[in-house]
Every structure is written in C-alpha cells, then in structure tokens.
C-alpha cells in the first residue's frame, strides 16, 4: 500500500506492506484522513507515535470502508462506512484499528468530512464536557476558533446551550466562525470579554496569564494545544482567588479503553446532532495522498476554516 511516511523529519510518500488486522481489529480502506496539529509536531520530530502504532506513518483519524476483520472483530461488517481514531497510521491506503476505536459514519457526511471528523469532535467533546464539565448557560472562550478542534468546540458548546466566544487570528475568518455559533474576536485583549467559566486553549502558553485574569470563579482552563509555546508563568494567587483549574488533555496518548470510552460518548451524544444537521464538519481543502506534503504545508500555513483532509 501507499502511505505518507515521516522519517528523520522528512515527509515522503512511499510503499509499505499492507497491514493485517489482528485480534479484534478491522482493516479499513481509507477514503479520508484528516491532518492535525500532532502531525506537524511529529514531522518536526517532537511528538512520536505511541507504542503499538506505526512509528513512521502519521495520521490520527480516518474514515473508509471495512475491507477485512481480524479474529473476534464483530462490531462492523465488510463494506460498513466507519470512522476511527488511531495512534498513528491513518494517512495511508489501508489502516488497521481496534473495532472499539471505530464508530459508524453518519449519513450526511461525505468521505472528506468523515475523515476529518473523529479526532476533532472527540477531542472537543472530551475536553468541553468530560474534562471541563461545561454546562448550559456557562460562558466558553475558545482560543483558535477557526481550526478543526475550534470549529467543533464552537458548535458542540452552542448545541449544549453555552455562550461561546472564540478568538480568531484572521479577520476574514471571523464571519464563518460567527455563523457556526460563536462571537468571534481578535486574539488581542480577549481578557476584556470575560469572565469565562471555561477556556479551551488550543494555541499555547502565551495566553495563560490573560486566561487566568479572564477566568470566572470556579473556572476551568483546558489546555489541548501548545503550538505557540509550552512554558508559561503561572500566578498561583490568581488561581486560588478564582478557585480555578488548569487541565492538560490529549487524546492520542491515552490507552485504547479510554479512547474507546470517549468515542462511545461521541456516538451517543454527537452523532445524532450530525445526523440531524445541527453540526457540520467544515472541510477547507482536500489533497491526494501523493500531495501529502502540500497538505501539511497548507495546515502549517494556517488561517483556514475547517479541516485539511488527505483523500487516498
């Protein structure tokens, strides 16, 4: 099979042996595989794939048809349209994944949307609700509202009755984020728009001091993205003053059972909203597997609304 390959920080497209589904696994013919921030880090050698995942093939999410099943895999039949979260290996023509890490693809989603859905919506849902406990009526600030996780978070929070503000660097992108349900603002001076009950940090350390200043009593800051830097100064007196919480979260490093649990929650609480059309999966651009490097460059360039998806 053909696959995107990262070796020594070099991105190429190369032939790799077809993977075989092991016990409880399905083999998926990949039709869409989203590009994520973690891929950028992996390309720079800073975010190795977890043990048990292909070390050289990136890609955390994919959608496609089931074309094979390992021993004991019974949740899906051959031909089923499925989407999955994997520790790596999604950006290839074929990928194996444990059936508990797979969910059905709702009717309204085409392959690019399905391929860019699971990681961002599961990440956003887990961060907002399972980690931060966001409730109806609360005020949410999303830093990086125009990205994949950002647009998912804006929509999920809106659907849950929260009042959403999102920082969006590019002014041209703000109307689209507003259309998805947020009040879109620039990243400068965001603190004046608080206080916020929950802050979803997708950018990094530079926002932390102002996040603390903009936090409501018993507010929660969930840090998922640190692309703009990891080292911040933390004023504990402010944290005590608001009785605030700072939480770090990643999906990728979790064991199968935790990812599977997060995906079951998405199946139950998010897929119905996708089916009803209440949530959409904005796709910015698609690229063929051979054009993977351009897909990565486009992601790194930033400033687009929605997902960049590789369609093998």
């Amino acid at each position: 099979m053909k696959a995107v390959v990262i070796e020594d920080s070099e991105l190429t497209v190369a032939e790799r042996p077809d993977p075989e589904p092991g016990s409880g696994e399905v083999l998926v013919r990949v039709r869409g595989a989203g590009v994520n921030g973690a891929d950028m880090l992996q390309r720079r050698g800073r975010y190795p794939a977890p043990p048990g995942s292909p070390q050289d093939i990136p890609g955390l999410e994919l959608a496609g048809e089931v074309v094979g099943r390992g021993p004991g895999a019974e949740r899906f039949a051959e031909g089923d349209r499925v989407a999955a979260i994997v520790g790596g290996g999604g950006q290839a023509e074929l990928c194996t994944v444990h059936e508990r890490g797979v969910m059905p693809v709702p009717e309204p989603l085409d392959w690019p949307a399905a391929g860019g859905f699971t990681e961002v919506f599961t990440t956003a849902h887990d961060a907002l609700f399972t980690q931060a406990g966001l409730r109806a009526g609360e005020r949410l600030l999303v830093h990086g509202g125009a990205g994949g996780v950002g647009t998912a978070a804006v929509q999920l929070a809106r659907a849950a009755g929260a009042r959403v503000t999102a920082t969006v660097r590019r002014e041209e992108a703000r109307p689209e984020v507003e259309r998805l349900g947020a009040s879109a603002i620039g990243p400068e001076g965001f603190g004046e728009h608080g206080p916020f009950d929950v802050i979803l940090e997708l950018v990094g350390a530079p926002n932390l001091a102002d996040n603390l200043g903009a936090l409501a009593t018993e507010g929660r800051i969930v840090v998922i993205g640190i692309g703009a830097g990891a080292k911040a100064e933390l004023n504990l007196a402010k944290l005590l003053g608001t009785r605030g919480r700072i939480m770090g979260s990643t999906l990728r490093a979790r064991p199968l059972e935790e990812k599977a649990l997060a995906m079951r929650r998405v199946e139950r609480h998010v897929l119905p909203l996708v089916e009803s059309g209440a949530l959409e999966v904005p796709v910015a651009e698609t690229f063929s597997l051979d054009d993977a490097e351009r897909a990565y460059d486009s992601f790194a360039e930033g400033g687009k609304i929605g997902k960049i998806v590789i369609v093998p």
Copy 2:
C-alpha cells in the same frame, strides 16, 4: 468584649462592642480559636477579610458554647458545644456565626482541639476528596505535612485508604508525622519518591516544577498554601503529558452556602472518625487572648506539630 485586632498591619488586643446575633445566627462564647496561615497574611495586609466579616478581628475558626440565638436560629440550643468556620472575627471573646456554618463538637475534643479543628479538617477534606477526588489506593504527597492542614490531610487520607507521603522541613518533626500515618521525607528531592496521584500543595510556587515532574497520569495538584511564593513557571507540555490538573482552592472566600456544604460533609464523614478516636487534632501550643502576638509569632516561626490555638 476583648478581641485580637489587626489595623494597619499592627496586632493588638482591644475592646470591641459585643456582636449581636442576626437572623439565623448564633452567638458563641469563644473557648478556642485556631491560628492559621491566613491570619499571618492578614497581619501583613495581604489577605483582607471577605465582605460581611469583621474587617479588623482575625480568626477563621473557633469553638465554644452557644450563648445566644438570633431570629430563626434553631439548629443549636444555648449551652451547646459548637465549632465554626467564619470569614473573620474568631479570635475574640464572642463571635456571631450563621448556624449553617456551625457543627457540633465531638465528645473527645477539648476546647483547644475543638478550636483548631474546623478550618484545617474542612480545608483538608474539601481539598482531598471534593476537589481532587482522592481514592483508596492512590498515592498522595502532602507538602508541609507537619502543619495544621498537613496533619489533618495525612490522617484523613490514611483513613480513606490512600498511601501518604509528606514533606516535613524539620527532621525532628518527622517521627510525629509518621505516627499520624505518612511516610515523612525532607523537602529536597521529593520528586524521586513519586509518581503521585494527588499532591496537596501547602507551601507554594517553588515546588510546582518538581510537582509536575512527580505527577502520575491523570494526577491532580491542589494548591491551598502559597506562603513560600505565588509565581511559578509552568511547563504545559508536562501537564498535557500526564493529563494533569492544577487546582487552586480556598475556603475563606467562598459564600456561606458552599462553606456550609463543605461542613456538612465533615459532619457526616469526619466527625464519626473523631468520635471513634481514629483522627486526632494535634495542638502544639495554647495562648491566652492577651498573648495573641506571641501566638502569631510562634505560628510564623513554624516547625511545630499541630495547631496553635488562642483560648480566650
């Protein structure tokens, strides 16, 4: 009545008008009033009393007899032995407090122990269980294990089946902390004793970097004390790596209903352990009201096991 008074960072003992119990309040003749870290901060002008509390009389906890009741106060009768948490005003001969902020004094506690019980045990119980969700079998690190909150936390965690390590600066104090149920270590190099599921930070910012390094996956750091400093550098990459949480918590700034809720939990889950003798309230020293300054100096000097209590 006579009271400890802090004005312009000057501590004196002075006459103040007797307080009158308002609606739902009881008037308590104070027999013991613990000295806490917050009093030290208030003396230095850095921790003003919350609105509605006496601004010039310190003291967050007290025990004594009910000697009067305001309209609608029905939980306690005159003569009842009670203990209370207040926003301020405890270090005086008389103090008013809302009856929901009062709990009965268990039989085994004498007045000094009762006067030094509520704030530290409620703070420790809230931090360990309500905030950090400490569970049996988890590993807890208590920074500042020889102090009032520290000795309460060690005992509560031990009673709940957690495995407890405590840092204790003074080597002479370690055997006593070990007797209460912790493995006592020096503050240097504590990170080598991890990983810990929960870290109770009673010292301050200087520990934060090593706390993060010693945190188990999904670990929680609860920061209550910042006497040694508030500004820390935070490496968000480490927080993401462990999916950790840093929580700030204070009891004093909370509204009555939240304090009352925390005290109800102590009534239900802690008082039975005091009654059975499973928990003790170590009292280091007692001072008369006239000797309040010496009590404060003794607290500031540190290095003692258990509470310093003013007995009016």
